[in-house]
């Protein structure tokens, strides 16, 4: 079947990729652009491990078709570090021990980032509500919530 060319921005860089019409954004990011920070877990939209930010909105990349993202802008976990300095969320996840096996982490961080982009001072309840979009099977939610709260405080302070 005919492939299609899709132009979009990933982590600030313009890319043009030839994709299958029935390819998910998850496959394109991982297999064609080597952005393996995007994780495939359930593959049916339940778990949130494959979350990326699409035009400011967190989406499950396993449910997005690559031809849908023509002209759009995507942020993956690889795009958070700037000039060798980690994003406050990444730093906070390390400091608070919010990573166990690490498979849900990139999705958690991106979901949290989209919340902090919308709202600089979210309450603990709001953080819990947003983070509940993502599943952590190590059940480390407490430290994840602490990390997001700590990152939010630091981001407001700077």
């Amino acid at each position: 079947m005919k492939r299609v060319k899709v132009n979009f921005t990933v982590n600030g860089e313009k890319v043009s990729v030839e994709v299958k019409q029935y390819e998910t954004l998850l496959e394109t990011l991982r297999e064609r652009l080597c952005l393996t920070g995007v994780k495939e877990s359930c593959s049916i939209g339940s778990c949130g491990a494959c979350t990326v930010i699409l035009d400011g909105i967190p989406v499950r990349s396993c449910l997005v078709l690559s031809p849908e993202v023509e002209g759009k802008s995507i942020t993956t976990v690889e795009g958070l570090e700037k000039n060798g300095i980690l994003h406050p969320l990444q730093q906070a996840f390390m400091e608070k021990g919010a990573v166990q096996c690490g498979f849900c982490t990139s999705g958690m961080i991106l979901t949290a980032k989209s919340l902090l982009d919308r709202q600089s001072k979210p309450s603990k309840d709001q953080i819990i509500r947003t983070i509940s979009s993502n599943i952590c099977r190590c059940t480390g939610y407490k430290k994840i919530i602490e990390a997001v709260m700590s990152a939010a405080e630091k981001m407001v302070a700077t």
Binding site: V4, Q21, G48, P58, E68, T130, S132
Partner: protein
């Protein structure tokens, strides 16, 4: 999970979408947020040769408030709608059901049109193709048996939209567009009552807009699910009241939401509708909770709603 081969099209106008469907009749599906459809295609519950993406049809992306209606384009996301001031202030049953839909990330992608037109679900149906093949295809898959109820001649899959019951209590209408033009019907009329083919829409017809009467109402929506963070309703109950006249709708059990009218001034109305609703539902063993429990929970949820509406807490 890898998707099967299909062609992807993104028309900019409804007319073009309808033409594409007709040209591939029987083999095309419409895509909006994809939160229901894409998993279905992955699990080979749909095998389209063409996927028609409706997201680029800008006329379906707006919410408009007039004196008599709140007109909602089918592409409006659950998240967008739940944050609309008119919904927050005047339509509490819908505000609750939107909030209770899936999780925040899915609310930002999933659309109201797609939520209403989601297919019915069953513990023995929403599985991988390998699983279903090993078990033997059921009635909803074109097989001869029901894998949930032994010997059953009909399908019992559950319609699990959180928002359709709430919308029904608000006397919502929907506009459908097809090759023969458009028509506007009550939301309750889009349901066939058959779990294997739950909707009465003509092949290729598109739900374009949802019309809710622009009235101030009282109401609420409650649901039972295993994980509060994301799950579909195993029982859902919505009620709305306007000038003492109320409507209750039960979702999550069977092919369509059941609805019951009530009058708030009648003595013992709460007990009556709770009993009536519980006696009319027929849950079967096709979810993670037992049918007996779900039937009891219909009564319990309705009583909680009644207490809330009577100002006695929840």
């Amino acid at each position: 999970m890898i998707l099967p081969e299909f062609e992807y099209k993104k028309p900019k106008v409804i007319k073009k979408a309808l033409q594409l469907f007709q040209a591939n009749r029987g083999d095309a599906v419409y895509l909006s947020g994809g939160t229901d459809l894409v998993p279905r295609i992955k699990q080979r519950l749909e095998k389209p040769s063409i996927v028609i993406d409706l997201k680029n049809i800008s006329s379906l992306n707006k919410i408009e408030l007039s004196r008599s209606w709140l007109k909602i384009g089918a592409n409006v996301t659950i998240y967008e709608l739940k944050n609309h001031p008119f919904v927050k202030d005047n339509l509490p049953a819908l505000a609750d059901s939107l909030e209770a839909t899936a999780c925040e990330t899915i609310q930002m992608r999933g659309t109201i049109g797609g939520n209403v037109l989601q297919n019915t679900r069953c513990l023995f149906y929403n599985k991988s193709d390998e699983w279903r093949k090993a078990k033997g295809y059921c009635l909803k898959m074109g097989g001869q048996v029901c894998n949930a109820v032994k010997g059953a001649k009909m399908c019992f899959a559950n319609y699990t939209s959180d928002n359709a019951p709430a919308l029904i209590t608000l006397e919502t209408q929907v506009r459908l567009s097809g090759v023969d033009g458009s028509r506007q019907i009550p939301l309750a009329a889009i349901f066939s009552g058959k779990s294997d083919r739950p909707f009465t829409l003509q092949p290729g017809e598109i739900l374009t807009h949802i019309f809710i009467p622009a009235n101030k109402t009282r109401g609420c929506y409650l649901k039972i699910r295993v994980r509060d963070s994301i799950d579909y309703p195993l029982v859902g109950a919505a009620a709305s009241l306007k000038n003492g006249n109320g409507c209750l709708a039960i979702g999550g059990i069977g092919a369509k939401p059941l609805h019951f009218d009530f009058d708030e001034t009648e003595d013992g109305w709460g007990e009556r509708i709770a009993r009536e609703a519980a006696s009319h539902v027929t849950p079967v063993a096709n979810t993670v909770l037992s049918p007996t429990y779900r039937k009891k929970m219909v009564y319990v949820l309705v009583k909680r709603i009644v207490r809330k509406l009577s100002g006695e807490g929840c």
